[in-house]
């Protein structure tokens, strides 16, 4: 199978979805990125990227029951597919390979 590489935002979205767990929905995923990753997220951007990931088969979404607090709107639950997990690993390996052997970055560490 061809390797899939993710943008930094896509990678963060997939990792946050995995961190949140079974009931991950847009606002939770965005909050996880903001709190753990320290990156501010616009929900519209998150949904646009999640749509793109779903088209490529890296996440799957299902609609939950609508609730009154959401104005009767259904919650969209996201789950990372096996292909998504593989894409995370491919991207991780590529980044680690690029990371290694850069003296400037090693100096920064010390």
């Amino acid at each position: 199978l061809p390797r899939t590489f993710l943008t930094d935002f896509e990678l963060m979205l997939l990792l946050a979805t995995l961190r949140v767990g079974e009931e991950a929905y847009g606002a939770q995923i965005a909050r996880e990125i903001e709190q753990t990753g320290g990156r501010p997220v616009l929900l519209g951007a998150a949904y646009a990227a999640l749509d793109r990931l779903e088209v490529n088969g890296l996440v799957r979404s299902t609609l939950a029951e609508p609730t009154p607090t959401r104005g009767g709107r259904a919650k969209r639950i996201f789950r990372v597919t096996l292909r998504g997990v593989r894409a995370i690993r491919d991207t991780q390996q590529a980044l680690i390979a690029l990371w290694s052997g850069i003296p400037q970055l090693q100096e920064d560490r010390t």
Binding site: G26, Y47, A48, D51, P66, T69, R73, K75
Partner: protein
């Protein structure tokens, strides 16, 4: 707990111009309910609308001339050929739109177009008749046989 109502205009904008995703609108409402400000709601709404415009799939409706309406498109892109034309360079819906536009802006133009069409047809008919009369008639096969 006090119910917080989202700005109506913002939700209308999300439904009308946003991604049309109940998940997103519901998430925004839920966040508002949990203490986010209305300014935050508006900021997210406007950003969602702008993102929608930026990432909208490349469907070009009502083009008068479509560059390559029948060429295959890259995989993964959902493209609808709204020109409804099998011929490259000619857009069916584009022509309909042009006709509507002309009808609204200048209905009198149709009379000019009709007059030109009638004159053209008449001229074509006259030319055909004249050429037909001038052309020499081929001899009948029966007469050739007798000679």
């Amino acid at each position: 707990m006090k119910t917080v109502h989202p700005p109506r205009l913002a939700t209308w904008m999300l439904d009308r111009f946003g991604p049309g995703d109940d998940g997103l609108t519901g998430d925004l409402m839920e966040e508002l309910e949990q203490g986010r400000s209305r300014a935050w709601f508006w900021r997210q709404t406007l950003a969602a609308v702008l993102y929608r415009r930026r990432t909208r799939r490349a469907v070009r409706p009502l083009l008068l001339v479509d560059r390559d309406p029948v060429l295959p498109h890259p995989a993964g892109r959902r493209v609808v050929n709204l020109t409804a034309s099998p011929l490259p360079g000619i857009g069916g819906l584009g022509l309909v739109a042009l006709a509507l536009l002309v009808s609204i802006m200048s209905p009198g133009s149709w009379l000019v177009a009709l007059a030109i069409l009638v004159i053209g047809l008449a001229a074509g008919a006259v030319l055909g008749y004249v050429r037909g009369r001038r052309a020499p008639k081929p001899p009948a096969p029966a007469l050739l046989g007798r000679r």
